[in-house]
């Protein structure tokens, strides 16, 4: 157990870590994480506007943290928190003035506190100081500002940072109101089930319609419950955004750039898994924007812009998906450099001049980096393809938009939840496939007169050419094509396309099941689901499917 290792580094002897103590410790960790995050945000806010109000709440948070840390025996953290408290009191009394250096020191102290309680520090900047150094600096700052007061120097104790616990329990705070409603619903479902069972027991007294109606009553309750359970998994995206304010501040200081970090749509709710998995791609984008996008104040002024740049993180619900944007008002992407680099890498022919969108998409390709120098921030051999891969793993898409001299916008479009989608079921032979409803635009019949044999074809949809892919051939299912096929019209990046299937089965909610190790990540498939009769149906990954077709098409046909 990780937490036992954690205890060894601290004051609790290994044997004393009883299950009760472990629970207390886990609770403390969850609370400490929140308190330290609040503290960090408070300090960052303090740097922007100094006033008495934020200080009072900061002191309160710090005090609560100190109490919690004391109760689980984290003496080193208590002492450091105490120093920080003293310093904040001085700030409140205006005995010291907050400057960037002091701000950094206090933020680093928060990081040290994180380390000492066993949480991962937020900042990973190279100039991070060891715990003892932070402590020494805090003490000397305190001493310098209040010469009259003599503080007994605490005995030098080797600060033993607790090992960051990799497997911290994933917990979620849920409003009591929601839980109550869930309990209500389960109760109501129990009643509905009982009623249905009773009716079925005396089925001869009821008509099938009556029985079906009774079943539907229960079903409605169940759907309510399902929706509620999904909602409980939702957390505001703000918690994911917040740490980036610190990242931007630290990076700005390190690189001599003045950047303001703006957040919007913080209360947009997303599935907790997505909130967690989106962190890495966002870190990449923010670092990239800070390193490549943002100019130094001098350059900005020379270009007639405000010396302080703005980096915004935005979240918004858009047409059933979640749209997250990382927007900077920096230099924008250099098209010529991207094209030159792409030619050097052989991704682009010497003569080829792709349209703007395609050119910008190149930076998301694996192995692509336009960085001329290897910097601490971006020269780690990983490019933006990591972002693309991670986002695609979440069944999302990435797009880039950039205006030279005015900035770059990265847009991540993600599904709201990972576990249930609205699906459209189709059948090919004996197999059933599910197409995510968000991809489906309409369905049309493909008369035998207009269908061509083979894997792909073109259908005239109200006068315009609609290329289609026949799933039976594409998946090599065998069997013969029925006289009447149906086309599911789906939207993709470059326009419309069709999927030719045997029959349309209609839409419904689809619970996504992973395909398991040996069948995972296959092109064209994003997962599987269970049908009413217990069979497994595969869920199609529409963008990947179309990508495959475009790749397979001869180059002349693509152009």
């Amino acid at each position: 157990m990780n937490r036992v290792i954690l205890a060894r580094g601290l004051l609790l002897p290994l044997a004393s870590m009883t299950p009760e103590l472990e629970k207390i410790h886990a609770l403390f960790l969850a609370e400490a994480e929140e308190q330290l995050a609040t503290l960090e945000q408070g300090l960052l806010a303090l740097e922007r506007t100094s006033g008495p109000q934020p200080l009072a709440s900061l002191l309160c948070t710090l005090h609560t943290f100190k109490g919690g840390a004391g109760s689980v025996g984290l003496t080193a953290a208590v002492e450091l928190a105490h120093l920080l408290e003293d310093l904040l009191t001085l700030l409140e009394a205006r005995a010291v003035v907050l400057h960037a250096g002091l701000g950094s020191l206090m933020l680093q102290a928060v990081d040290v506190l994180r380390e000492q309680v066993g949480l991962e520090p937020a900042s990973e900047s190279a100039q991070r100081l060891p715990a003892q150094e932070v402590r020494r600096l805090l003490e000397s700052t305190l001493k310098a500002s209040q010469p009259a007061q003599t503080r007994a120097a605490a005995p030098e104790r080797p600060a033993s940072p607790a090992e960051p616990s990799a497997h911290r329990e994933h917990t979620l705070r849920v409003g009591l109101g929601r839980l109550d409603r869930m309990l209500d619903l389960t109760g109501e479902i129990a009643i509905a089930r009982g009623r249905l069972a009773e009716m079925l027991g005396q089925a001869h007294r009821y008509t099938p319609q009556q029985l079906l109606e009774a079943h539907r009553d229960g079903d409605r309750l169940y759907l309510d419950l399902q929706e509620l359970v999904m909602k409980v998994r939702m957390v505001p995206i703000g918690r994911t955004f917040q740490p980036f304010v610190r990242t931007v501040r630290d990076l700005g200081l390190a690189m001599g750039k003045q950047v303001r970090c703006e957040l919007s749509g913080e209360d947009v709710e997303v599935d907790t898994t997505i909130a967690e998995l989106i962190r890495d791609p966002l870190t990449h984008l923010v670092r990239n924007a800070m390193d490549h996008g943002m100019e130094t104040p001098e350059v900005r002024q020379a270009r007639g812009k405000e010396p302080t740049g703005t980096l915004s993180l935005r979240a918004v619900h858009d047409a059933g998906t979640l749209l997250i944007q990382v927007v900077d008002d920096g230099a924008g992407l250099d098209r010529e450099r991207i094209a030159a680099r792409a030619r050097a890498l052989g991704m682009l022919g010497a003569e080829e001049t792709p349209d703007d969108g395609a050119l910008l998409r190149l930076i998301l390709a694996p192995g692509f980096s336009t960085a001329e120098r290897i910097t601490e921030l971006s020269g780690r051999g990983v490019g933006m393809d990591v972002v693309k891969r991670n986002v695609e793993a979440l069944r999302g898409t990435v797009s880039v938009d950039s205006t030279p001299g005015q900035g770059t916008t990265f847009s991540l479009r993600l599904p709201l939840t990972l576990s249930i989608i609205e699906g459209f079921n189709v059948a090919v032979g004996a197999e059933t496939y599910v197409i995510p409803l968000q991809n489906v635009l309409e369905c049309v019949e493909l008369p035998s007169a207009e269908s061509r044999p083979g894997r792909t074809g073109v259908f005239s949809l109200r006068g315009s050419a609609l290329p289609y892919l026949r799933l039976r051939e594409h998946f090599g299912l065998g069997g013969s094509t029925p006289a009447r096929e149906n086309l599911v019209v789906i939207g993709h990046e470059r326009g419309l396309a069709g999927l030719a299937v045997d029959t349309l089965l209609g839409q419904g909610q689809t619970v996504i099941k992973p395909l398991g190790r040996f069948c995972q990540g296959l092109p064209g498939l994003s997962g599987s689901t269970l049908l009413g009769d217990g069979r497994v149906a595969l869920i199609l990954d529409v963008p990947a499917l179309l990508h495959q077709v475009l790749q397979a098409a001869p180059p002349a046909a693509v152009a």
Binding site: M347, F475, L515, C519, G521, G534
Partner: protein
């Protein structure tokens, strides 16, 4: 692995292409009737498809394809042996398609002989040994299921993941 070290171990035997093979019984979670298996286009050839095991989607491995044996004709006696296999750091559950289930046998260390250098229907690396059973001294091949499904196979499954044409190997020559 406990089946190699403990004194007497129980094995479950099953029939593949007319030959009797056996697995350590602790690996076997259950045996179920062969029912509808959904084919997964693009999956490795030895994955026959996936099926619904009480709510989780589990792949079915066709060992005859994997081991290069003559392929199975589905019959009424065909069944799926659900096993747990160690892959890297995780245990995965999967089904093995078998012609029929044999028996549960108990073998002491003296009943297990190392596999001969050649002559077995499957590669020696895939065998833990040969078990001698009963008075007829018939041999049963003890499969090392972890090895059968390990390493390169997982790689080949992931290799399929990268869409064709996205590899950058062809470009390296041009950089210089």
């Amino acid at each position: 692995m406990s089946e190699e070290t403990s004194a007497a171990t129980q094995y479950l035997s099953f029939i593949l292409a007319g030959e009797e093979y056996a697995l350590g019984i602790l690996r076997v979670k259950e045996i179920i009737e062969y029912d509808t298996v959904t084919r997964v286009p693009g999956a490795p050839v030895w994955v026959r498809g996936v099926f619904n095991l009480r709510g989780s989607v589990v792949p079915v491995v066709d060992l005859t394809v994997k081991l290069g044996l003559p392929s199975i004709q589905l019959t009424r006696r065909s069944c799926i042996v659900v096993v747990e296999v160690r892959q890297g750091n995780e245990d995965i559950v999967l089904g093995l398609l078998a012609d029929a289930i044999g028996q549960v046998i108990e073998l002491g260390p003296e009943d297990v002989a190392p596999p001969p250098a050649f002559g077995t229907p499957v590669h020696v690396d895939y065998l833990l040994g040969m078990g001698r059973v009963g008075t007829a001294r018939k041999f049963i091949l003890l499969l090392d299921i972890d090895k059968v499904l390990s390493g390169q196979e997982v790689l080949s499954a992931t290799a399929l993941r990268a869409p064709p044409g996205e590899d950058t190997e062809r470009t390296t020559g041009k950089v210089a």
